[in-house]
């Protein structure tokens, strides 16, 4: 047990180091982009005088490394700072969008993960049959299409032709859960179609890989039904690679869904990030990237821990 804790502690320390490196990269990356917040916000209204006043107001006339250090100091105490564009508390700005993004991600995940596992196990069971080939073709096709294309097709059929679901996800804080779920069915379906293929194929491959092992042969000789062989003997051993793929896709559901957010007009974190980058609102960009990086690190950490826990050889190393 102590081993697990040691491993977790190590990983968290590495995670913090990664976060620090990412913050440096992002800050200086955005600094390199031409223009700055004052010019971007004022747009066509930017004259040298108005830009200068705006810059002084925001403290943008201080050099980049000084601003970075004061931001870092703030982050260490949990103060994400204030958006340069409209002076609102970033924690408040991000709070709502983050909860929206996690809501959509969880919704998509609760559909996609069980579906992918189910399809993958069946595909492994009935490998090389028509069912297997059909499922593979369909999921590979859906992952190959660009997301916005999948989104538009779903909107065309389900929102416009059949009018079953709304075409845009007009979600606000005070809606009851049922309403929220109803309005986000189409974006969740889009995301599901995009991530299922990866998880399903990995499940199938990992299980089939194990089917030539001696212990599976033993189980078959004992006369155990094929489904039981897969569920009780193959799957637990195949969990390590499957969990890693699931973690990767879950992270994508939080971090990579800007396009779906734009098409469905869903107020999530991705859209906030894109807006902030194009306006060079550096504190918001930094805060968003910290959150995205943390999500990735935590999910990878959980995947690693589950892999270790399910593998007695790693759990009790000699």
């Amino acid at each position: 047990m102590i081993n697990i804790l040691k491993i977790v502690a190590q990983r968290i320390a590495l995670g913090l180091l990664t976060l620090f490196a990412i913050s440096l990269l992002i800050t200086f990356g955005v600094e390199l982009l031409p223009g700055d917040l004052a010019e971007s916000i004022l747009g066509q209204g930017a004259t040298p005088e108005t830009v200068k006043v705006f810059r002084t107001e925001l403290g943008l006339d201080k050099p980049a490394h000084l601003r970075y250090l004061s931001w870092l100091a703030g982050m260490a105490t949990g103060d994400m700072g204030v958006s340069l564009a409209n002076k609102r508390e970033i924690s408040e700005l991000i709070g709502l969008r983050l909860s929206n993004t996690i809501f959509l991600g969880s919704f998509a995940a609760t559909i996609a993960v069980p579906l992918a596992l189910f399809l993958g196990i069946l595909a492994a069971l009935y490998r090389n049959t028509l069912y297997d080939r059909a499922v593979n073709t369909f999921t590979l096709t859906s992952i190959s299409f660009p997301e916005f294309f999948v989104a538009y097709i779903l909107i065309l059929f389900f929102a416009i032709k059949l009018s079953w679901f709304p075409g845009i996800s007009n979600v606000s804080r005070d809606l009851p859960l049922g309403d929220k779920l109803y309005r986000t069915i189409l974006p969740a379906a889009t995301l599901t179609l995009v991530v299922v293929a990866h998880m399903m194929r990995m499940t199938r491959a990992a299980i089939i890989n194990l089917l030539s092992s001696p212990f599976i042969e033993m189980a078959r000789l004992k006369g155990i039904r094929p489904m039981k062989i897969i569920m009780r003997h193959a799957l637990p051993n195949a969990l390590a690679p499957i969990v890693n793929v699931i973690a990767l896709n879950l992270a994508y559901l939080v971090v990579g869904v800007v396009i779906v957010e734009v098409v469905f007009v869903y107020p999530g974190l991705g859209q906030l990030m894109v807006d902030s980058v194009s306006k060079r609102d550096i504190p918001v960009v930094q805060a968003c990237s910290m959150i995205f990086a943390t999500v990735y690190i935590l999910l990878n950490l959980s995947a690693d821990i589950i892999s270790i826990v399910t593998n007695p050889r790693l759990l009790h190393p000699r």
Binding site: I41, G43, A46, T47, P48, I160, V265, S276, K279
Partner: protein, 528 residues
């Protein structure tokens, strides 16, 4: 005097004169600005049949999480519509393009239009209960003067002082006579907000407007409830207003088509005819002052040679660009920024047409023309397509244009007013003086052609203070001619505002100064 006014009223009612002539004849009698506006509103029967009720849901093409309620930062359509929903200004542009009283019930020029006295409406309340008085107006103006980041600063440089003359009167002293000052004082940035100790709180969202701000998620959603104390009895018909920011054009059309929203702006021109075909949907347009331009830097070779500029001006097929880029939703431009809807538009100035022979002639005089045109869709939708078409038209005249596609991100910082030849758009201004002063006066901060013409500048100052309408018309005619023939800008087209509504939305005659009835659709339209 009264019988003269009555005679003119009769002429208007019988239709023997147009509304513009009505206003002009009143001006000859010495009745300028607001009083004429009041008489016009009296004669206006467009609001017949308006009724209260309902929630208006609008899908708007702009809106970003980085927007702010500070009036000095309003730079996109979403904030503009919020501006007019929660706040008012001293005056407003009505459907004839003239100034109509809003928070100021009348205004008088004195001293050769160098002093302007604005009389405020009494009994107007802000959403927080405070009554409107001169202090609020002065504080609202001062937010945009002095050390400020507001773009209205350069506009207000002409104001040398503001003072109050009693609780409901504000006096402006200008640095020079300006017959159009009421338009300037009603610029969209200068929203009138409540003053606390001589200053306004720019982001409090409080104003005198038809809707009270209830919920606002920047870049996502605005929700407002009708202001029960709104001072205009015949405006603000909806009980609730919901505006959603829907940037993706397909999502916006879908939202209208599936009934998620009742009105949308910026209908995608490529599919506008398909949207109009759908039952229950109307696609409407207004022609205003919005125009698209290709400004050349007249301070940079080869554009400093007027032969080059004339060659390029003759080398573009304006009709084809209106047809292919605007899909017919617009009119051709004549290389100056004054629209047919502006009062002193030079309708009789010969319309420049596509003439490869003339272009070739000027190019030869200049010793050959080989130039680069920088374009991005950030300049205006279809800018890159228009540039490519331009290249083809010019090739037929032996002129070589290389189209450089610039990134949209950072376009206004890196390309506009930096590269020698680029693309740009202008919402336009309600008066000639304002448009010319903003972008064509020598040394103006937005003079993107870096052009200076002494005769033009001289006429600009003279015309500004000129109260004789005929003399003014002549001066503006000459100025439009100078810009057309000597200026550095190619103005191929004026673009219409195209927006969509469901069949249940009704409106009177619409203003063309901004999108969707001057961005005041929420107070002027109603459910039929």
């Amino acid at each position: 005097m009264d019988y003269k006014i009555n005679k003119i009223k009769e002429q208007l009612m019988s239709g023997s004169i147009t509304r513009r002539e009505f206003a002009q004849r009143l001006m000859v009698l010495g009745i300028a600005g607001s009083s004429a506006g009041t008489l016009l509103t009296w004669a206006d029967k467009a609001q017949a049949g308006a009724k209260r009720g309902g929630r208006l849901r609008a899908g708007i093409a702009h809106g970003s999480t980085t927007d702010s309620l500070d009036p000095g930062t309003y730079e996109n359509g979403f904030m503009s519509k919020i501006n007019y929903a929660i706040q008012n200004h001293l005056g407003e542009v009505d459907h004839t393009g003239s100034m109509s009283p809003e928070l100021a019930e009348s205004w008088d020029p004195q001293n050769g239009a160098k002093t302007w006295v604005f009389n405020l409406r009494k009994g107007v309340e802000f959403h927080n209960g405070k009554s409107l008085d001169s202090d609020d107006v002065i504080a609202s103006f001062q937010h945009h003067m002095g050390e400020t980041k507001s773009p209205a600063k350069s506009l207000l440089k002409q104001v040398s002082s503001i003072r109050k003359d009693g609780k409901y009167t504000v006096v402006f002293e200008l640095t020079g006579g300006n017959a159009d000052f009421p338009f300037v004082a009603s610029d969209y940035h200068i929203a009138i907000k409540p003053s606390k100790g001589g200053k306004i709180d720019p982001t409090d969202g409080i104003g005198t407007g038809p809707y009270v701000l209830n919920k606002l998620e920047m870049g996502v959603r605005f929700f407002g409830k009708r202001n029960p104390n709104y001072f205009k009895a015949d405006r603000g018909w909806f009980n609730e207003l919901e505006m959603l920011s829907i940037v993706d054009p397909t999502a916006r059309s879908n939202a209208l088509a599936t009934g998620e929203v009742d009105v949308i702006d910026r209908v995608d021109l490529k599919t506008a005819h398909l949207l109009a075909r759908k039952s229950g949907i109307k696609v409407e347009e207004t022609t205003g002052t919005k125009h698209y331009t290709f400004p050349m830097r007249t301070d940079t070779a080869p554009f400093d040679d007027n032969n080059v500029r004339l060659a390029l001006k003759h080398a573009v097929n304006r009709d084809e660009i209106v047809e292919k880029v605007l899909f017919g939703h617009g009119v051709v431009g004549n290389d100056h920024p004054i629209a047919p809807s502006n009062p002193f538009h030079a309708a009789s100035l010969e319309q420049r047409t596509y003439d490869p022979d003339k272009a070739r002639f000027y190019a030869k005089k200049a010793g050959g023309v080989k130039v680069k045109l920088s374009a991005a869709d950030a300049a205006f939708p279809g800018a890159v397509d228009a540039a490519v078409l331009y290249r083809e038209h010019a090739a037929a005249a032996g002129i070589d244009i290389e189209v450089v596609r610039e990134p949209s991100d950072g376009y206004w910082s890196n390309v506009w007013m930096k590269k020698p030849w680029g693309a740009c758009y202008w919402g336009g201004r309600p008066t000639e003086d304002w448009m010319f002063s903003t972008a064509y006066m020598g040394g103006a901060s937005w003079n993107d052609t870096f052009w200076k013409n002494d005769r033009f500048d001289k006429l600009l100052i003279e015309a500004r203070a000129e109260t004789n309408q005929n003399k003014r018309r002549e001066m503006y005619f000459e100025m439009q001619q100078i810009v057309r023939d000597k200026g550095g800008v190619v103005v191929p087209m004026f673009a219409n505002y195209v927006f969509g509504t469901t069949d249940k939305i009704a409106h009177g005659t619409m203003a063309g100064n901004w999108d969707m009835d001057g961005d005041k659709f929420h107070e002027r339209w109603w459910y039929s």
